[in-house]
């Protein structure tokens, strides 16, 4: 079976998804799940009144079945009590869509998971919003740089793709540059580098930019790609930097990113 061999019902929910959007208010809780490897990220918003799901909305980045299962899940559980909604499984969602290609069953799993996560967050009173830059800056962490962790292999590539200072950005022209967050100077350098290369990745362990507001805005508007909650775990390559091993602190997993240069500014 092809991975896109969808039922008519699935295609209908993909083409005309129900309840797309977000909800706001004190009686709203959010559930967020994602699988960065297969590429689906989903948010479910529920408004709870008298222990029932009074309103529900979703946002999804994902394939056809990710959209369809999100949409179907919102239809299935609207009006249910929280316990009833917790009992809804991926199987129920898939069945309601007249089945899914076997390889796509994980996507419907996500929709139910996001819903269950929202209910859990509602019950525990947890708000699922990332801290704002001001909150982080005000938390007394200075430039927001956590304790230095060991980066495997970093010493072997000094002068061969690992930079501790960059005096002339043109030496990185057209290179894929990974800059580790060392505060304001590193963010300024990242912005400067976008003038000479299309690929600048800014790696920060925080879940928001811990920078002064105007600089954070500049970074957001620039072509700098920011990777939040990420730590450089290792540098790899045949004689020179070719890959960076990145540890995703949120998902607690590692993945390789192909790069040509790694910049770790020294204070």
């Amino acid at each position: 079976m092809k991975s896109t061999q969808y039922s008519e019902k699935t295609l209908d929910h993909f083409r005309n998804p129900r309840n797309v959007g977000t909800l706001e208010g004190d009686d709203v809780a959010v559930g967020r799940v994602g699988n960065p490897v297969c590429g689906d990220i989903m948010e479910m918003y529920i408004r709870v009144r008298d222990d029932r799901i009074a309103d529900i909305a979703f946002q999804t980045f994902g394939c056809g079945s990710a959209v369809a299962t999100s949409s179907m899940t919102t239809e299935l559980v609207k009006g249910m009590t929280l316990d009833e909604a917790l009992a809804v499984t991926r199987r129920d969602v898939a069945d309601a869509l007249d089945g899914l290609p076997p390889i796509k069953m994980h996507c419907s799993n996500l929709a139910a998971d996001a819903l269950h996560d929202a209910i859990k967050n509602y019950r525990s009173g947890r708000k699922l919003e990332p801290m704002s830059a001001e909150e982080i800056a005000g938390a007394g962490t200075g430039c927001g740089v956590p304790a230095v962790a060991v980066i495997e292999g970093i010493g072997d590539y000094e002068g061969r793709g690992v930079y501790t200072a960059v005096t002339d950005v043109t030496q990185l022209a057209d290179k894929r540059v990974l800059i580790v967050d060392k505060g304001v100077a590193s963010a300024r350098l990242a912005l400067e580098l976008t003038k000479v290369t299309p690929r600048v990745v800014f790696l920060t362990e925080l879940d928001a930019l811990g920078l002064p507001e105007d600089l954070a805005t500049q970074v957001k508007r620039s072509d700098v790609k920011v990777l939040f909650q990420s730590r450089l775990a290792a540098v790899r390559g045949e004689g020179e930097v070719e890959k960076a091993l990145i540890h995703d602190l949120d998902e607690d997993n590692d993945y390789e990113l192909f790069v040509d240069a790694v910049v770790l500014l020294e204070p």
């Binding site: 991975s3 896109t4 295609l11 993909f14 083409r15 998804p17 797309v20 959007g21 967020r32 960065p36 490897v37 297969c38 590429g39 689906d40 990220i41 989903m42 948010e43 979703f58 946002q59 999804t60 980045f61 994902g62 394939c63 056809g64 079945s65 990710a66 959209v67 390889i103 796509k104 994980h106 996507c107 057209d174 290179k175 894929r176 299309p198 690929r199 957001k220 508007r221 790609k225 990777l227 045949e238 004689g239 070719e242 890959k243 993945y255 990113l257 192909f258 790069v259 040509d260």
Partner: protein
């Protein structure tokens, strides 16, 4: 709905009607087994050898350097496994590039299981392989290097003449998968010292199920398919005569029309690239800005996923391709895009357009009529997309 728009020529191409016409007699009155000693067999042998000469001329080779196969995958298998097995005593190290077709990556895995060491060469952010990166990986144990002439996915053209010159005379053989490039770029084995070159018939509008492997004179292979000893013992099995005649006819047409057709396709490609990048915010071109196949335009759109894009295009009658994991069997995103330095979520948002012989200017217009709205609609429901 208007007519179907097919912009996925890298996946499959229609057979040119002129090719079908050339093939038809070989199914009926001109049938025959080239191995037979009677007149029918002699006629088949003549057609086979004439076709071999035709395909050889297409790539500037000698006829006896062309082995017919069942397609590019078989050609890649014969080249890589056949060469590696033959050269085992000289060394057990093989180098391939990260941007190869999936068949070569899997052949690499197979060679690893058979006791070879396989090293991969990463490309730059545009998908280009730097010959120096190959050189730094060559050891005394290296016997074979494999780099595709161009990427079937992002369309980046590799500096094959430079790589070939670098390896020439060093005792390390070079295999080139030319499937994405054939018919679009001139390929001349009399000018470029490549040792092994894979070709496919369908990729030059010939029938599917036929291909060829160029084997430079003096390069020795071990057979992979064992049987009656056809094709100089390298590819046993009675020759697919109608298919081979069709491939030769397709090669002839391709050679005649190549420069004109490539210029025509490049114009459409450039118009689509300019329109997409200027009309759709946060859209990016994948692959090389200039060193790319004339028929390939490969984009990514921030915050949206390729399969959703593909399905929406399908609903509008437009056939395209994506590097998204959700459309693959493994649910892994395209290894080519990842090796260019993209993050998983970026690779997922990619869309590939490949033009071909029957594409028209109107196809570009049709894409631009629908694509901006599709991207906007999917972004409205995406938690990953924020307007900057």
């Amino acid at each position: 709905m208007s007519r179907e728009v097919y912009l996925d020529y890298q996946s499959a191409k229609p057979v040119d009607p002129r090719v079908v016409e050339a093939m038809l007699p070989y199914f009926t009155e001109r049938f025959g087994n080239p191995a037979s000693l009677h007149t029918v067999g002699d006629r088949a042998t003549a057609a086979l050898e004439e076709s071999r000469a035709g395909v050889a001329a297409f790539i500037g080779a000698q006829p006896d350097e062309v082995i017919f196969t069942s397609g590019a995958t078989e050609s890649n298998n014969l080249a890589m496994i056949g060469f590696a097995n033959r050269a085992k005593r000289e060394g057990a190290h093989v180098i391939i590039s990260e941007v190869e077709h999936i068949s070569l990556h899997n052949i690499g895995k197979f060679l690893e299981k058979s006791g070879f060491r396989v090293t991969k060469v990463p490309p730059d952010q545009f998908g280009r392989i730097d010959p120096d990166k190959i050189r730094s990986r060559v050891t005394d144990d290296t016997v074979l290097v494999s780099v595709g002439w161009a990427s079937n996915e992002i369309g980046t053209i590799q500096p094959i003449p430079r790589i070939a010159e670098m390896l020439h005379g060093t005792g390390v053989a070079l295999h080139v998968d030319a499937v994405a490039a054939e018919g679009l770029l001139p390929i001349d084995m009399s000018a470029v010292p490549v040792d092994l070159l894979s070709l496919s018939s369908n990729d030059i509008y010939g029938p599917p199920g036929v291909g060829a492997l160029y084997v430079r004179k003096g390069v020795r292979l071990a057979a992979v398919t064992i049987g009656g000893g056809q094709e100089n013992g390298l590819r046993s099995g009675t020759e697919n005569l109608p298919g081979i005649v069709g491939m030769a006819a397709a090669a002839g047409i391709s050679a005649d029309e190549l420069s004109q057709e490539s210029a025509r396709l490049a114009k459409m490609r450039d118009r689509l690239i300019a329109a997409v990048l200027s009309t759709i915010p946060d859209s990016h071109l994948n692959g090389h800005p200039t060193e790319r196949l004339p028929n390939n335009a490969h984009f990514r759109f921030d915050g949206i996923e390729g399969e959703s894009l593909l399905l929406s295009m399908k609903d509008k009658g437009i056939a395209v391709s994506t590097g998204s994991a959700c459309s693959s069997k493994t649910l892994e995103p395209s290894h080519t895009l990842i090796s260019c330095g993209l993050l998983h979520q970026e690779a997922h948002g990619s869309l590939e357009f490949t033009f071909g012989r029957f594409s028209e200017d109107a196809d570009v217009d049709r894409v631009m009529e629908v694509l901006p709205d599709i991207v906007a609609r999917l972004r409205r429901m995406s938690p990953l997309y924020e307007t900057r």
